[in-house]
């Protein structure tokens, strides 16, 4: 351990609940992950698994009530940011912690020019006057490859295309040169070519500015393209973590295997796509044991009543198959792989 933190962001045992009239939803349960500096960590999972709630609670964006962070800590370069008062939190978010959202059209104020929306961050966090801020805005727009920045800056969001707006969002979140950028499904709403452009842009910016990125997505293609490390989420828990190679080539959780098989590839042309039968558990009443028990083809008696711990270290999986007493199984190889 050196005095300089190895991790840009470290989240430990995060748990988030929502109280609704139907009961309490345990949306995030005991989530921990680490983001290495200058790398991209992808959080993957199907919709409703809690990935967005996880990052929004880091940013202090979940409405409270009904939301509630019941436990956990989040260290941004060693400083605790979870549970801060709004005024304290505002010294981090927008400044050292940037965020971009899925639907850029609705995420931008419709009655404010995009130039003003970007400049606002600069004026608030970097104490610039309007004029200098405007110069910086034009530079940021150019950086995110928007042509004619001077003209575009004076336009309103509805005058832009979806891909352009996502660039604007990126420009806005990078205005204060943050350490960490959280991208919540930044390309889901875009078509494939635009998606590729945005991803390339993010990667270039990462190289240029040494940015650490948390990328939320349900698209394994995006993961393969962007991520250094991956965390797979299922039913409010992280079920497998590891490097991108670990996840793709040495999957050690049945759910990750299922996800991978459900992804179309050029080999699947001949055969049918495999799907994971069933649907995720109801988080109003999360199951006692493993969340994946009902859908798992390798399920064992132990899985029904006992929630598995994470086995493994850098490459870890939340699955009883990796217990020392478990019968021999093909997935066990992955964790014991010498490269791990």
């Amino acid at each position: 351990m050196t005095s300089v933190n190895q991790y840009a962001l470290e989240v430990n045992n995060l748990a988030v609940e929502f109280t609704t009239y139907g009961g309490t939803v345990k949306a995030v349960r005991d989530v921990s992950f680490k983001l290495r500096k200058g790398t991209t960590l992808a959080i993957v999972g199907e919709s409703g698994c809690g990935k967005s709630v996880t990052v929004q609670s880091l940013m202090g964006l979940i409405p409270m009530p009904p939301g509630k962070i019941t436990s956990g800590s989040a260290l941004l370069d060693g400083e605790e940011i979870l549970g801060l008062k709004t005024e304290r939190l505002n010294q981090y978010r927008g400044k050292r912690l940037g965020m971009i959202f899925q639907d850029a059209m609705s995420a931008l104020n419709p009655t404010m020019t995009i130039g003003n929306q970007i400049a606002e961050t600069l004026i608030v966090h970097r104490a610039m006057d309007k004029k200098t801020a405007w110069v910086e805005v034009l530079e940021l727009l150019a950086l995110t490859q928007i042509s004619e920045p001077a003209r575009r800056a004076r336009q309103y969001p509805f005058e832009f295309s979806g891909g352009m707006l996502q660039r604007v969002m990126i420009a806005m979140s990078l205005a204060c040169k943050p350490d960490v950028l959280i991208a919540d499904e930044p390309t889901t709403a875009l078509d494939v070519t635009i998606q590729a452009q945005i991803l390339n842009l993010l990667r270039n910016l990462q190289e240029k500015q040494g940015l650490s990125i948390i990328l939320i997505t349900h698209d394994l293609g995006v993961v393969a393209r962007m991520a250094h490390d991956v965390a797979v989420m299922y039913a409010g828990q992280i079920v497998e973590t590891g490097s991108v190679d670990d996840i793709f080539y040495r999957s050690s959780h049945p759910y990750t295997v299922g996800l991978k098989e459900a992804m179309p590839s050029n080999k699947t042309v001949e055969q049918e796509l495999r799907v994971i039968a069933g649907s995720p558990p109801d988080l109003f009443a999360p199951p006692e044991g493993c969340g994946f028990y009902a859908r798992c083809m390798y399920a064992m008696k132990v899985c029904e009543k006992n929630s598995p711990p994470i086995f493994g270290n850098h490459h870890g999986a939340r699955c009883w198959l990796h217990h020392a007493n478990a019968p021999a199984h093909i997935l066990q190889q992955s964790l014991k792989d010498p490269t791990n």
């Binding site: 069933g278 028990y293 399920a299 064992m300 132990v302 006992n306 009883w320 007493n325």
Partner: protein, 466 residues
């Protein structure tokens, strides 16, 4: 592995076949069931639903339970405050009271002019004080040129508190006063002040008098009541009091409810239906037809609403002071449908583009099937909400027009026309205005809150997030 749990070998046997994977743990509810569930947890909406039911019972069953002729005038008990007390004392006809005069033989106390200090005097009540009459007499006061009589509802604290005098004597010889002015069965505070001409006394005598309700023998005979002076009789109670013609306000409020709610509910039902048909046709066909139909609807919306309500009334040949319940209904329908049409059209236009309607069309569904199976069920919620909000609007319109004398005219009671009559005597007998106004307010409030609740319950997209 932070947990103490250590699984045994046997635990790692394959799990038995599990239950069907796609079970949904919560019960599934139909659209209307779900809406009802949501409405039930909305306390305000539920209370307003009960209020609406209560109002309907009041209107429909009320006149059966409270069988009292709303048109019956009783000039002996006009503008009576609400009360349940019903007993009255039979008294002889009051006749003429000679009063108390200072004896001729005794000399008048000298009038000492400006410097005179005018003292107080003792007050006596002659006979029994009833709502028929109160007879006062008093001792002469030295230096009094005449006497002033005051009547108050409360114990006066100072001379400034007395207000305007009820009456005065002409001379210093008269030592009595008979009060027969709109007496109510309550406690009055009578005050006598002797006046020296230019100055009045600073101290005075006050007597609290409790009045009993009484009717005279001749009045009893008019009502075919067997009357013996000195006995008591049960009279009809007026829980809401009476109006300026002595008519029972409870009966009139019930009767007025029938008129107000008839207009307030019948008119919205008709114009919502009309609007649904118009808007549905316009939205379903779209294109040029839609454009033309909506232009026309916009023209009708542009008509100044209340002015045209009045104009139609005149057009139907109804003069001032005449009741026009039916013309008001027609005018309301003629002027109010376009707003509903616009809302329904918007919904139908939106539905037409919905994937499930497109899919049904692709599968060869005919227009009738589309309309009855897809369009109408999916607009029902919106229509119901629109209807609920249209009712208070119509009730307000009726009240407003009747209030300015352009709607239901006396003697037909409606809440609006009753308010119109009540406002004239608002300062002295506020209950004549308050009861009809209260009912208008509660009805409008109940329907508004019910509409809010329905809107929240029926469509999450329309939620007001209150």
């Amino acid at each position: 592995m932070n947990k103490a749990f250590a699984p045994a070998l046997a635990d790692f046997a394959p799990a038995p076949a599990r239950q069907k994977m796609d079970t949904i743990s919560r019960p599934s509810l139909s659209y209307w069931q779900d809406a009802w569930q949501r409405l039930k947890i909305n306390k305000r909406a539920l209370v307003s639903l009960y209020l609406v039911l209560g109002l309907l019972i009041f209107t429909l069953l009320g006149p059966i339970l409270w069988n009292y002729d709303p048109a019956l005038q009783d000039l002996d008990s006009i503008s009576q405050a609400p009360s349940f007390s019903t007993t009255a004392l039979f008294v002889d006809d009051p006749g003429i009271w000679e009063g108390v005069l200072l004896q001729e033989s005794s000399t008048l106390p000298p009038v000492t002019g400006q410097s005179a200090v005018l003292g107080a005097t003792r007050l006596n009540i002659e006979g029994t004080a009833t709502t028929q009459y109160v007879r006062l007499s008093w001792e002469p006061v030295e230096g009094g040129a005449y006497y002033l009589v005051y009547r108050n509802d409360h114990q006066p604290e100072s001379a400034e508190d007395l207000g305007l005098p009820l009456g005065q004597t002409l001379t210093a010889r008269e030592l009595s006063f008979e009060d027969r002015l709109q007496l109510q069965p309550q406690t009055y505070y009578y005050t006598i002040i002797a006046s020296g001409g230019l100055r009045e006394a600073s101290d005075f005598a006050t007597e609290a008098v409790e009045l009993e309700r009484a009717i005279t023998v001749s009045q009893a005979l008019e009502r075919n009541l067997p009357a013996t002076p000195g006995t008591r009789v049960e009279l009809s109670a007026h829980p809401f009091g009476t109006d300026y013609l002595g008519r029972d306000l409870l009966a009139r409020t019930m009767m007025g409810a029938q008129v107000s709610l008839f207009i307030g509910i019948a008119a919205p039902f008709i114009f919502v239906l009309l609007g649904v048909i118009y808007g549905g046709v316009s939205g379903y066909f779209g294109g040029k037809i839609d454009l033309l139909m909506m232009r026309f609807a916009e023209f009708v919306i542009a008509l100044p609403f209340l002015l045209f309500m009045i104009l139609f009334r005149i057009g139907f040949g109804i003069g001032p002071g005449e009741s026009g319940i039916f013309p008001m209904l027609v005018a309301l329908v003629l002027l109010s449908w376009p707003n509903v049409a616009r809302i329904v059209r918007g919904q139908v236009l939106q539905l037409r583009e919905e994937a499930f309607v497109q899919a049904a069309r692709l599968l060869g569904a005919n227009p009738a099937y589309l309309i009855f199976r897809h369009m109408i069920p999916n607009t029902m919620g919106l229509i119901l909400v629109t209807l609920t909000f249209a009712i208070p609007m119509a009730i307000f319109t009726e009240a407003f027009l009747s209030f300015i004398g352009m709607g239901v005219a006396p003697p037909t009671p409606s809440w609006g026309s009753m308010s119109n009559e009540g406002i004239r005597s608002m300062l002295s007998t506020p209950h004549e205005l308050l009861f009809p106004a209260f009912f208008i307010s509660v009805t409008v409030l109940a329907f508004n809150l019910l509409g809010d609740g329905l809107r929240d319950a029926l469509d999450s997209r329309m939620r007001s997030r209150e």
